[in-house]
């Protein structure tokens, strides 16, 4: 089992990585699917560490660490949960709606090449849909907190 010092050191590294990711995400108008997945993964990762540490550490001995946890919790809550996450949800929903509409238009006969190119768009739609499911799962857990 990992010691508090190990988790604490890991927490520092991972929370810095998260802040860097959030800063990057804030600057971009469009996010790729891997960027979305990576950001949520890191949010979940750091939030889990924060929960474990808060249960295990003593306020008198680890005040600096507690301050760091409070700071990153605030970043997750104010920057990500209240701002970035709803925007990602909205963009994914719009993207699904637009791609679906686009794929359903045009029933004219297509060549083999055109059909196979169109199949790539369907594959992208499936990826966006499964990303939306993943993001919605995060949203459900948020509303249970």
């Amino acid at each position: 089992m990992a010691s508090i010092d190990d988790i604490s050191s890991m927490f520092h590294t991972e929370s810095e990585k998260l802040e860097h990711l959030i800063n990057n995400v804030t600057k971009k108008s469009e996010l790729s699917i891997p960027e979305i997945i990576e950001t949520y993964y890191q949010i979940i990762n750091v939030s889990s560490m924060s929960t474990v540490l808060k249960q295990q550490i003593n306020a008198n001995e680890h005040q600096t660490l507690l301050d760091k946890i409070a700071k990153i919790d605030k970043v997750i809550s104010d920057k990500f949960n209240s701002n970035i996450h709803p925007q990602i949800m909205e963009k994914l929903a719009n993207s699904i709606q637009n791609t679906t509409k686009n794929l359903q238009s045009g029933n004219e006969e297509k060549s083999k090449e055109e059909i196979e190119n169109k199949a790539k768009e369907y594959e992208e739609l499936r990826q966006i849909m499964s990303t939306k499911e993943f993001v919605e799962q995060y949203d459900k857990e948020l509303s249970h907190d």
């Binding site: 059909i115 196979e116 169109k118 199949a119 369907y122």
Partner: protein
């Protein structure tokens, strides 16, 4: 003979998957003629090719010898049907078909087991019901998705009676069934349990069908899905709960296992007789 046929079909699929270099969304093969490896009546094979040729989901075909078997490869795309089926709130699973030859082998086993009528539930393009007609069985095809039923209507050179209906509310007494076998489309883990339970309830309410009725469940042993505690490729608990017993399982290629090493188990079951 059927087990050998299914084994040979699985070997053909594995060989085909190794050499296939196309980029189509779906693909399958049908042997051109009767052979020692595929002892299927020539007339039946021709009807299977006819089903594929007339079917608008396939947009390309070409001949190729795979191993020792001369085949026609059919390339297709079911994306627009997938998109329509996921927008159907009551549809359990998106359309993804078994191979046409696999459908034929399954129905061949149903016929050998003595069933007289095939009811294809969640029938997609109706290939199982079509194969039942090829094998001189009566057949009915129940599909909730209207786009797929319209597709089936283009393929009824042999009338397999397509119905656009919710299989859980359909009135099966209208069909005057005597010795039916129900093929349940959809994996247990993808809405199949709810669908099968609904149909079982309807059939058990028809007195002459409480016995003499067969069931075929599409299974999976893939680690992607939660296994059933009673196993049977995902169907063990439903089989036990409904007082059914498994008769035989055959493993066959399907569109959704084309890129997988494991094929699809079809679990045949029947009602346990009263003692």
């Amino acid at each position: 003979m059927i087990e050998k046929l299914s084994k040979n079909l699985v070997n053909l699929k594995k060989e085909f998957a190794k050499i296939y270099d196309g980029t189509s969304h779906i693909q399958e093969v049908i042997p051109v003629s009767k052979s020692e490896i595929f002892p299927i009546k020539q007339q039946d094979l021709e009807l299977l090719h006819q089903f594929a040729t007339k079917n608008p989901i396939y947009y390309n075909s070409y001949e190729k010898t795979i191993g020792k078997t001369h085949c026609i490869i059919y390339e297709g795309d079911i994306n627009k049907y997938w998109l329509n089926s996921i927008q159907h709130s009551s549809s359990c699973a998106p359309f993804s078909p078994t191979w046409i030859v696999s459908a034929y082998v399954c129905v061949l086993l149903a016929k050998e087991l003595g069933y007289r009528e095939v009811i294809d539930i969640g029938s997609g393009d109706g290939r199982i019901a079509f194969c039942a007609k090829v094998l001189d069985l009566e057949s009915y095809s129940i599909e909730i998705d209207n786009m797929l039923v319209d597709l089936q209507k283009l393929l009824t050179t042999l009338d397999f009676h397509p119905y656009c209906s919710d299989a859980e509310t359909f009135d099966y007494s209208l069909l005057n069934l005597s010795q039916p076998i129900f093929f349940i489309g959809g994996l247990a883990q993808m809405g199949g349990i709810a669908l099968a339970s609904g149909v079982l309830k309807k059939i058990n309410s028809i007195s002459n069908l409480k016995k003499n009725t067969g069931w075929v469940f599409v299974g999976t042993n893939s680690q992607k899905y939660q296994p059933d505690p009673k196993n049977m490729a995902g169907w063990g608990t439903l089989i036990e709960k409904n007082n059914l017993k498994s008769i035989q399982t055959i493993t066959l290629p399907t569109v959704w296992t084309f890129h997988e090493s494991e094929e699809t188990p079809y679990v045949f079951a029947e009602t346990v007789s009263d003692k």
